[in-house]
C-alpha cells in the first residue's frame, strides 16, 4: 500500500550550510494494508525524519514515496489534501498538537477540511461518535481548553481524529512515550482498535523495543539513518543478525530474565 523507496535526507546546518548531517541514508520501507509495523531506533537514528517524509511534512533529498502505486512525493494542493486524508500522523507530545488558545474540539472540526463537505449536524454527530470510540465522554471534553485535559485524554482526542478521517494509514511517532504506565496500555489498545475497526494500517515510530515487540506484525530496526534489520518481531529478537540489533537485545531490560553479571 505504501512504499518509501531509497529515501535519503541530508540536512545542512552551520554557517552557510557547510556542515551536513545525513539523517536518513537510502532507507526503503513498505507498509501493507491492515498491518501494524514498528520502526524502532534510538534518538538520532533518523526514524522521525523518515516518518515526516512519508507524511509529506518535509521533502526528501533523494528517493520517492508511493501510495497505492502513485508517486506522492511531489503532490500539491487538492491532491496533497487527498493524500493527507488517507495518511494521518499522531505525535509524541499531545500538548503540541493543540493550540492553547482554542477549545479542544477545534482539532477535531479541522479534520473535516480534508473530507467531503458535511452539514453542521452531521459533523457534530461524527465528533461525538469519534470521542466515544476513544473512550471519552463528549461532555467531559467538548468546550474544554487543552490544559484542562490530562496527557492521556489529549492523546485520546488526537486519536479521535483518526476515527473522523478513517485514514488508511496512521503514522504514530512515539505516541505513548510521554504517558504513564497505567494510561499507556489504553492508548496502545486504541491503535489496535483503529486497525481492527477501520482496517487502517499503523506505523509505530518508537525507541521502545518492548512496545514494538508486543504490538507489531513486523518490525524495522533503524540505526544511523539506515534500516538495518526487518522481520517478524519474534524472529528478529530470537535471531538478530545486525550487530546493533544484537546489542539492543542484550541491553534492553527484561522482566522475566535477569542480566548476566548483575
Amino acid at each position: 500500500m505504501l512504499e518509501a523507496r531509497n529515501i535519503t535526507k541530508l540536512f545542512r546546518t552551520g554557517l552557510f550550510g557547510r556542515e551536513k548531517v545525513l539523517a536518513v541514508d537510502n532507507a526503503t520501507m513498505t507498509v501493507r494494508r491492515g498491518e501494524i509495523v514498528s520502526l524502532v531506533g534510538e534518538s538520532g537514528s533518523g526514524k522521525t525524519t523518515l516518518c515526516r517524509i512519508i507524511l509529506r511534512l518535509i521533502a526528501p533529498t533523494r528517493g520517492e514515496v508511493f501510495y497505492d502505486g502513485r508517486e506522492v512525493t511531489r503532490l500539491k494542493g487538492k491532491e496533497l489534501k487527498w493524500y493527507w486524508s488517507k495518511v494521518h500522523g499522531v505525535f509524541q507530545d499531545p500538548y503540541a498538537a493543540f493550540h492553547p488558545f482554542y477549545r479542544v474540539e477545534r482539532v477535531l472540526y479541522q479534520a473535516f477540511n480534508l473530507l467531503p463537505p458535511l452539514s453542521d449536524d452531521e459533523k457534530k454527530r461524527v465528533v461525538h461518535e469519534a470521542l466515544t470510540s476513544v473512550g471519552l465522554r463528549p461532555a467531559d471534553v467538548l468546550g474544554k481548553f487543552p490544559h484542562e485535559l490530562s496527557g492521556g485524554m489529549r492523546q485520546r482526542v488526537a486519536i479521535a481524529r483518526c476515527f473522523i478521517l478513517k485514514p488508511e494509514l496512521i503514522i504514530a511517532d512515539e505516541p505513548v512515550s510521554m504517558l504513564d504506565a497505567s494510561t499507556r496500555m489504553g492508548i496502545v489498545r486504541l491503535f489496535k482498535d483503529v486497525r481492527d475497526v477501520n482496517r487502517s494500517s499503523v506505523v509505530f515510530v518508537t525507541h521502545d523495543l518492548g512496545l514494538a515487540y508486543v504490538v507489531s506484525d513486523r518490525i524495522l530496526i533503524m540505526y544511523k539513518g539506515r534500516i538495518v534489520e526487518e522481520g517478524d518481531p519474534v524472529e528478529v529478537m530470537e535471531y538478530p543478525s545486525h550487530p546493533y540489533t544484537k546489542r539492543l537485545k542484550e541491553d534492553v531490560p527484561l522482566m522475566y530474565r535477569k542480566w548476566g553479571g548483575f
Binding site: D180, S182, T183, G186, R189, G210, L211, F262
Partner: protein
C-alpha cells in the same frame, strides 16, 4: 538483624496551597536495609519525588511535614535544623541525584570546580587534596581522568551521569538516592550507568541505594526490594522477585501488565488495560484510593482504607482482598 540504614515511619507531608492541601505523602512507612537496592516505583504525580525530599528532610514551603520520623544511620533527621543537615547529612550520610541532574550542571564551571564547591561545604580541603580525591575515585570506577577538567557539555549524556554519580559519592555517603537516573539515555548507555551503580556499592563506597523510577524492568534487573506507590500511599512492598513476578495488589498487577518487554511472555499476555487515570491528590477518593479503577473492588473498599499488612514472608500489601486471606 541489623538496624536498617534508613527508616521512615508514618510519614505525611502535604503541599499547602491556596486551593487546598495536596496530600502527596500520606502515612508512608519505608525502610532501606543495609546492603540493599530498594526500588520506589509509581507513576508521575504519585508522590515518589516528594517522599524522597521528605526522607532527605529537604522540606520547604509549600511542602509541610504533617507527621512521622526519619532515622538515617541512627540520626533523627527531623530533630536537626537545615544548616546542620546541610553540613552533616547531605553529601556525607546521604547523597541525592535528582531527576534530570545531567542537564542541571552549571555550564560555566568545569567538573572539578563543581566538586570543589561541594566538598568545601563539608570540610576544609586544599585544591590539590580535592583533585587527588577525584582522581582516585575516577580510577576506581574506570572513568576517564580528563573528565574532571571538562565542562559539562563536553561529556556525553551517559558519561555526564556517571561523573555526577562519582562526584556525588565522593565523601562515601552511606546511602545514595537516585531519581530516574537513566530516563534520558538509550538502553546501552543506561546499562553502563546501572553497572556503575552496582560497582560503587560492591566497592563499598556506599552501602545502599534508593532507586526511584517508573520503569519496572530496570528494577527487575537491579533492585533487591521494591515499594509500589499510588496516590501518596505505599500499596505493596517486599523482595523484588516476589513483587514483580507474583504481585498481589491489583494496582501492582496492572503496573506489571503494562510493562512491555521484548519477551515471549509479554507478547502472549497482550494488551491488558485498566480504566481511568490516577486520582487528584487534593480530593483523593475515600477508602482505598485505587477502588474506582479496581476490577476487584468490593463494598468495603470505598468505605474503609486498607492498612498495609504483611501477608506472606516480607511482603506487605494494602488490599482487603488479601487481608481476609491473611486473617483466615
Amino acid at each position: 538483624m541489623p538496624e536498617p540504614l534508613l527508616i521512615g515511619l508514618n510519614l505525611s507531608a502535604f503541599y499547602r496551597l491556596k486551593l487546598g492541601e495536596i496530600r502527596a505523602v500520606d502515612g508512608v512507612d519505608i525502610s532501606v536495609p543495609r546492603g540493599s537496592i530498594v526500588g520506589l516505583a509509581g507513576e508521575s504525580g504519585c508522590g515518589k519525588t516528594t517522599l524522597v525530599n521528605v526522607l532527605l528532610a529537604n522540606v520547604r514551603p509549600p511542602l509541610t511535614i504533617i507527621g512521622g520520623t526519619v532515622m538515617l544511620d541512627g540520626i533523627d533527621l527531623f530533630k536537626m535544623n537545615r544548616e546542620e543537615i546541610r553540613k552533616k547529612v547531605w553529601g556525607v550520610k546521604v547523597s541525592y541525584v535528582p531527576q534530570a541532574a545531567l542537564n542541571a550542571l552549571n555550564p560555566t564551571k568545569r567538573i572539578i570546580d563543581l566538586v570543589r564547591d561541594a566538598v568545601r561545604q563539608h570540610m576544609p580541603a586544599t585544591d590539590s587534596e580535592i583533585v587527588s580525591m577525584c582522581r582516585r575515585r575516577f580510577e576506581e570506577l574506570n572513568l576517564p581522568l580528563d573528565g574532571i577538567i571538562r565542562y559539562p557539555h563536553e561529556l556525553s549524556g551517559g558519561m555526564r551521569q556517571r561523573v555526577i554519580i562519582a562526584i556525588s559519592t565522593l565523601l562515601n555517603p552511606r546511602l545514595l538516592i537516585v531519581d530516574e537516573p537513566t530516563s534520558a539515555l538509550d538502553v546501552s548507555t543506561q546499562k553502563q550507568v546501572l553497572k556503575m551503580l552496582l560497582d560503587i556499592k560492591s566497592d563499598r563506597i556506599i552501602e545502599s541505594i534508593l532507586f526511584v523510577t517508573h520503569e519496572l524492568a530496570l528494577l527487575r534487573q537491579i533492585a533487591t526490594h521494591v515499594y509500589i506507590m499510588y496516590a501518596g500511599k505505599i500499596v505493596e512492598y517486599g523482595p523484588a522477585e516476589d513483587i514483580m513476578l507474583e504481585p498481589m495488589h491489583p494496582y501492582t498487577k496492572a503496573l506489571m501488565y503494562s510493562v512491555m518487554t521484548p519477551e515471549p511472555e509479554s507478547r502472549q499476555r497482550g494488551i491488558i488495560t485498566i480504566p481511568g487515570e490516577p486520582p487528584s491528590l487534593v480530593m483523593p477518593p475515600p477508602g482505598c484510593r485505587f477502588h474506582p479503577r479496581c476490577p476487584y473492588a468490593m463494598d468495603i473498599c470505598s468505605r474503609k482504607e486498607p492498612a498495609l499488612v504483611e501477608t506472606r514472608g516480607d511482603v506487605g500489601v494494602a488490599c482487603f482482598l488479601h487481608h481476609e486471606r491473611a486473617v483466615a
